[in-house]
Symmetry: C2
Subunit: 694 residues, 2 copies
């Protein structure tokens, strides 16, 4: 028997110490502190619930899973006098997703206006246990500040994910609707745990296939899985669907047949999925069809679809990511120019979805001028979780600080304090609809996100959408504790790396506001020398504009004057080359190489310094990571350790490629103490060329 127990123990320890990352932040390994564990166990000994529906089932199931895992006890369901009471009741806060947690000496009560509120409350309780917080004298009242908190999956019908770095699509279309992969359920659990309540299943570059009857049956199966977790399903639609699927001659939004086709389609969708969320549309953008193909406008297109969806309370989420083919223009200004003019003319079930920055998810962008500009039209925040421009799945970039920077940026739309967060959560303009979305970084990879640390970005989206004023540091703290359940030193070490990671990545890839200098089309590695592409605004030169004088895109009134799209308060932060925060310098100014920054260095010297210090910081990340060896599970440790090696290799590549290339223009030496890159331009160019080989 002793041997047997020893054997069992060895399995347990295997379970504990080799972690493939599948369980995400809902890890639920046994809490090591016995006293704490016992205290919690007492609190969760018995549970009662005053309602029964699909959501109550999954709520109790989650509670049981957490309790068994974290505490080693099976919660007992009782009729009364439970130590944990779950109940639906009318709260002071009428938000349908609100919850309260109150605790007395012998009882914790979690209540919600709806079963969904209770589910969120239970996840909050579990989080507090996972993060070793006290459950004494709780008086929590919480409700989401943003209504729609959503993931956008850029998943194609062939199973690939556009800009996905974590495997294939999780949706197994050829198995649906008959087979429900267990991953669908765990996906829903993870989302519910962070308050995500919507998911767009397919790519915004949308195949019309998804709204055929055949595929709607499959979508329904997913909606049925997600519903108990409070998650609504959305689809991206192809604007030309009436032609592609309906055989109509046109997709003109003003054509009666087209309107009718969409009405019928909406009816069909809602007959199958009564709580379907809505359609997301990328129209007249990067080759996608749209109303402008028929001489109509974005407004015409969006309103036509909104009319079709209105009887069902369905939403139209219309993306503002548009930019015309204009070699002389400034892509920065395109979305504002196209959408500002229609403010107030969109039907009430339309949300305009705006990427955080004016270009395309660069590692640092100033905010899109549309935030603060659309007073009568709800705008949604679109963040990108998948690291298209942030090092794919081999660079460790915690995006929390980036999101926080964006949300805290003051638009000055109604004077100082008009932050983006307040635009997005509807406070500023009293938007009736509010939304924040993340372009998902999930895929079929066992650990969901490829880089184990990228799970934090998914987690962050949910937490920030619930409360856009939460700090990225607080989120990192929660996530690390939940994910690693490690000791204090390791927790602090990991958090520290996370908090620095985005600035480090910026330094070795895009210092001082350099942007859009990645490998053309595939977006891998550095390629600042791209001067030709199918469109000028797909080159790097278009953005960095390096010449013998200097570098950067002049967006002041002497240049493209896109700065004018901001309210004065924000504009004035950027308009003066001498006072602008150096991180944004080259977004707005063509700065002479020898221009002196406030720290006394020239632009060139500062750029080079950042490239080199960025690389050194990665070495520091490696050292810090090495210091926690043995403190977290070995599989994750080795996984991250290996990825940091790749990150270091690629950081060197970025540094050398950038320095060698820009030096052609600056003609200035690499400042001491740094050594000039040993590699030639040709060697560095050949590295990215490999990835252009079809």
């Amino acid at each position: 028997m002793r041997l047997f127990v020893l054997f069992l123990l060895s399995i347990i320890s295997l379970n504990t110490f080799a972690d493939d990352g599948y369980r995400l932040w809902l890890k639920y390994d046994r809490i090591q502190n016995e006293a704490l564990r016992k205290t919690y166990a007492q609190k969760l000994a018995t549970v009662s619930i005053n309602f029964s529906d699909e959501t109550s089932k999954v709520t109790l199931s989650e509670l049981e899973k957490a309790s068994l895992g974290l505490l080693g006890v099976k919660t007992k369901l009782v009729g009364s006098n439970a130590s944990l009471v779950l109940k639906k009741e009318i709260l002071t806060d009428k938000n349908s997703e609100a919850f309260e947690i109150k605790s007395t000496k012998n009882q914790i009560v979690i209540s919600g206006n709806t079963s969904k509120g209770v589910l969120y409350g239970v996840f909050e309780l579990i989080r507090r246990i996972q993060t070793s917080e006290s459950l004494e004298n709780l008086k929590i009242a919480s409700s989401p500040k943003i209504q729609l908190r959503m993931l956008n999956h850029w998943d194609n019908n062939n199973g690939t994910i556009e800009r996905g770095y974590a495997g294939m699509s999780m949706w197994k279309w050829y198995e649906l609707p008959e087979r429900i992969d267990t991953r669908y359920i765990d996906y829903a659990r993870a989302n519910a745990s962070i308050g995500i309540n919507g998911t767009v299943l397919n790519n915004v570059n949308a195949s019309a296939r998804f709204i055929t009857a055949e595929y709607l049956g499959k979508v329904k199966a997913l909606a049925d899985v997600f519903r108990p977790y409070g998650i609504k399903v959305f689809l991206s639609v192809n604007f030309a669907s009436p032609k592609i699927l309906g055989g109509l001659k046109t997709a003109d939004p003003l054509d009666p047949e087209v309107k009718q086709w969409w009405k019928n389609k909406a009816d069909e969708v809602y007959k199958l999925i009564p709580d379907f969320g809505g359609f997301v549309v990328k129209a007249n953008s990067e080759g996608e069809p749209g109303p402008m193909d028929f001489g109509r406008t974005h407004k015409d297109g969006a309103n036509m679809l909104a009319e079709a969806m209105a009887p069902h309370n369905g939403l139209i989420i219309w993306r503002a990511f548009v930019y015309n083919f204009d070699p002389k223009g400034d892509r920065f200004a395109a979305a504002y120019n196209e959408f500002k003019k229609f403010d107030g003319e969109f039907l009430p079930n339309i949300i305009i979805q705006v990427k955080n920055g004016p270009i395309d998810f660069q590692v640092r962008e100033p905010i899109s001028p549309l935030f603060g500009a659309m007073e009568k039209t709800p705008v949604s925040m679109e963040f990108q979780l998948t690291q298209e421009y942030l090092g794919w799945a081999t660079h460790w970039v915690y995006e929390g600080p980036m999101f926080e920077e964006v949300l805290k940026t003051d638009t000055f739309a109604k004077g100082a304090g008009s932050t983006v967060a307040k635009v997005i959560d509807g406070q500023l303009f009293k938007y009736p609809l509010t939304s924040m979305i993340g372009v998902a970084n999930t895929g079929s990879d066992r650990n969901w996100t490829g880089h184990p640390m990228a799970q934090a970005n998914w987690y962050t989206l949910g937490r920030m959408a619930w409360n856009p004023e939460i700090t990225s540091e607080k989120i990192a703290d929660e996530w690390v504790k939940m994910t690693f359940q490690s000791d204090k030193k390791s927790t602090e070490t990991i958090k520290k790396i996370m908090m620095e990671s985005r600035e480090i990545y910026t330094n070795y890839t895009n210092p001082l506001g350099v942007h859009h200098v990645m490998g053309e089309s595939h977006h891998f590695g550095p390629e600042p020398w791209v001067e030709k592409a199918p469109r000028p605004d797909w080159t790097a030169l278009y953005y960095h504009r390096a010449d013998t004088v200097g570098i950067g895109f002049d967006r002041t009134e002497k240049g493209s004057n896109s700065l004018a799209q901001y309210h004065l308060g924000l504009r004035s932060k950027y308009s003066d080359i001498n006072t602008i925060q150096p991180e944004f310098l080259l977004w707005f100014h063509h700065a002479p190489w020898r221009h002196k920054l406030q720290n006394g260095r020239t632009v060139w010297d500062e750029m080079v310094t950042r490239y080199y210090e960025g690389v050194k910081s990665v070495e520091n990340m490696q050292r810090q990571w090495a210091s926690i060896k043995g403190k977290i599970d070995s599989e994750t440790f080795e996984n991250v350790e290996a990825r940091l090696k790749t990150q270091h290799k690629e950081a060197l590549w970025w540094r050398d490629a950038s320095v060698v290339y820009f030096q052609k223009y600056s003609k200035m030496p690499v400042p001491s103490p740094y050594q000039k890159p040993a590699r030639t331009f040709e060697e560095l160019k050949s590295l990215v060329d490999v990835y252009h080989v079809k």
Copy 2:
């Protein structure tokens, strides 16, 4: 303590009863029969080994894993008097991969000429334990009948797999060489356990990227992982690489610069990977570049590459899958016409890789006439494990009986008994090189193959390549026992379904030798009405040739006369419409709808009967499967149960589409007792059309 043990037990039972399929046939769950377990445990109590290298490490590690899992004991490594002795020694059989297993009352001795032989012997021992066989008085001597036993991965550089239905490529190119995914090791273990000793990492439609210095470094990392398991790495190459990568003006195989480029490339490859296997080439086939682009021949191309590889003992595996654009011709005859003429003119390090049938991996094909035709050139068997035409990952098709049918087919090349197996294993023509390959069905899916039952096809390839005369039933028996470790009744039930599955699939999709009637291009579902495609031989009509008279492709002397490519003995089995086995009828004859088969039914009635009986057989599969509920782990049970539902839905689709379409030509009624399909042609056509929507 008791509670704790109970809890631990609950974890164990979870481990045992929910199986995600990752462990494949190396499941190693505890053997339930205690007496048996103890007997085995005694035999494996102590182990000694007389050599130490990378292979010995993995051999001992596997032994430990198996012993701990199956028997619950940790084998103890001792210096002498071990119960299990592993040793390198010179065997009677000089084959470098041979092994012997001999057992006396107190000792089992596994010996090999090389450490690889010992590894194979250990896997044989484990298999015998997994299948509950006696280890008493063993006198086993085994060596592979085929030298190169290989998987071909059709994996692209973007991570997709051409015709893959189990997720993405397992090779994480952007993480390599720094990060070694644990799956690489488990892949190697699985292959070694069934004797697979080669792997082609990338698609035959080859990107030149794989032979850049950058990618060769990544390939080396994989080769290093696989080497201890006796697996050599191969790459598919793009024939135009000297132009694409080398910047040469031509890829003409007779051009001195081109020759030199390939010599240099071969040197570069072997400097990194001294035991690199060789290059696989798909040339002048389906748009791939090749020597004929420069007015040269397959012989010229293959020999040029073979010269470059010869100094390193590298192989060139040249695929015979070619067919010219000839609307009047018969694609059936293309490979023979192109390659037979060069027999004897290929350099000795060349293997011609031939698909089992003359067309393209249809569910039943007569053998390629090249088997038995190439007397002086080694030909390799290419089977397809991925179920491109066999129902993807939702239809359960055990391919063993198909492979067996092919291998047992008599070519009559040297009179009766000249089976394909004897061609392939080199007996018949004394080939100095022998090879059998399977186009892999593996991917990043957790269970490797999508359909849990498709793992059996991978297993079969290895076992049949080791011994092409083993029966598919014996293999099924091994695989089911190893994979499910269930009771006798369940084992027999699963085997029975497996053994019938391919004929069932044939019946509801391609009865009587119908072929190539699947969805155009995507190859999903039925689309026998395809009459137009980029090439006539990509239509369905080209193959079934249905008209008001009859159906089938006349390949007798009255038709294309492709039958003449077979030796007389085989030809005469197919040439007479009255004596041909009905399963091959429409491969060789345009049979009148009213032609009577030997069972008295007309061709039409027999076709319809098979479509309907095929569907009913799926229902029977479902019933049989349902009968083992609770006898195998629930996750696999439910997974297969759901896939069988999809299979049934699609079987009905195939049946109805085929019957409704062909009835347009036959104008004959659906024979009783079968009911005419309720769906219209338009309804059925729209189903496949969905999958043509981009």
